[in-house]
């Protein structure tokens, strides 16, 4: 009896220990490492042996996409030339620069009245309301930058990605009231009986296409002949 108990205890201990070890190294579907960037996995790499360095493909040019056609740029129309003379302030008379000899004083000239505008204004020299909009030329390829150096080593970031969320939780379906669409109980209309109908019976040959004998149903309240 004692031996049986010890045996049972050993089996239980082994089961607990194995379960404990099984919990380490999370290898569930929830732990999916991100894919490695290209060029970081050397070909032929095996544990204990370095593989060949990946060849970085240089940047190649791609065809320049066609320039989308733009409509002509139209400028807003100019306002007509004003025929009203603007108003400008009269400047004060500046002092004379100094002379190396004395001179008599002279009177200050009177401010003249505004003179009329010329009879005809010149035409605007700019022609048309559109402006030239030259298309830019495709630039040349810039110098190829240096490719980043990667060794394939280094910390790999891992993060948990839920693959099947909500799997353990079933949606709860509550009983819907009978009046909620589309569960509304449809009202069943009574079948309308047609008292005037012709019952087509097959003829002796069993063919209903020929004119069979029609059996007329006696009308109610029909007067006897």
């Amino acid at each position: 009896m004692k031996k049986i108990l010890i045996l049972l205890m050993l089996v239980s201990l082994a089961g607990i220990t194995g379960r404990t070890y099984a919990q380490t190294g999370d290898r569930s579907d929830w732990n999916v490492p991100p894919p490695l960037p290209p060029g970081t996995v050397p070909k032929g790499a095996v544990p204990g042996k370095a593989g060949k360095a990946a060849t970085v493909v240089p940047v190649v040019d791609v065809p320049q996409p066609a320039m989308p056609k733009l409509g002509e740029v139209e400028l807003a129309a100019l306002s007509p030339v004003s025929l009203i003379i603007p108003v400008a302030a009269v400047p004060y008379q500046p002092a004379f620069p100094s002379l190396p000899f004395e001179t008599p004083e002279i009177p200050v000239p009177a401010v003249p009245e505004t003179i009329d505008l010329p009879k005809q204004a010149p035409a605007d020299e700019i022609t048309g309301a559109t402006t030239d909009f030259p298309e830019p030329q495709a630039p040349e390829m810039p110098a190829t930058p240096n490719a980043p150096l990667t060794t394939g080593k280094g910390p790999v970031e891992t993060f948990k990605v839920p693959l099947t969320p909500g799997l353990l939780q079933q949606p709860v379906v509550n009983d819907l009231p009978g009046t909620s669409f589309p569960f509304t109980e449809w009202s069943v209309l009574p079948i309308v009986s047609n008292i005037h109908f012709v019952l087509v019976l097959p003829d002796e040959k069993g063919d209903i296409r020929s004119k069979p004998k029609a059996l007329k149903r006696k009308q109610k309240n029909a007067k006897p002949k």
Binding site: S79, I85, P91, L99, P107, L117, P118, P122, E125
Partner: protein, 271 residues
Amino acid sequence: MKVINHNIKNHLLPFFILFIYTANAQTLHPDTKFKKGDEFQRQIVIKSNCVLQRGGQTLNISTFSAVTKLYKVNETANKGASINVTINKIIDTVNALGHKVVYNSDNKPDPSSDIQMTLSQMIGKPAVIAVDETGKVLTAQKQLPGSDTQLWFVGIQPEYFAPGNNVEFMLDFPANSFLKKGYTWADNSASTSTTYTINSVTGRTTTITYTSTDLQGNLNSKTNGVLLIDNDSGVILKRSTQSVTTGYVVVKGVVYTAIRRTATSEICYKK
């Protein structure tokens, strides 16, 4: 008969002398007597207010400028002279669109400023002209730099040497001791009409007031001015003006209605 002839001859001589003197007096002009190496320095101070307008767009430009020019006699011939005209100094302040540009030719111009670079191109580049003894331009081999439109906006008065016109620092007027206050005369051309009036006369100077109307191209101008002239040389020692110009100015192909009011004070003397 001999007695009569002798008496007439004696009496006619003074009449001839008086006639000649009178004729010369009517056409007497100040004789400048240009000499090689003579230098005339002219300083012009100008204040102006200008308004450009097109539709709802209005541009106000205020300027203050002080320009120093030198007129140097290189050669003389037949009482006339060959003169080099050079702008030696410019001080200019332009206020427009809330911005202020100050230029002094004594300082290095700012390469990023179109106004300063334009003004700097005017310094030290002489115009070469030939004049007669009254200062009237005979030929102009080379003009001063700068276009009228550029100078108009920065408030500097352009000087264009046209054959038949007097240089601006001299006036050809009938200087005469018989001229009194109130004497008036006119000088008219195809586009310009000017009326001069004697204001006062002294032994050495004459003060003249004038009004001028200029109708040419797209601009009409009216000027009231006062001159102080050296009677001997005809050099305008002092000049002050008040003027108004109205018309149309083309800026980058667009026509604007414009008005400009200007006040000038200038001096000129022989160094």
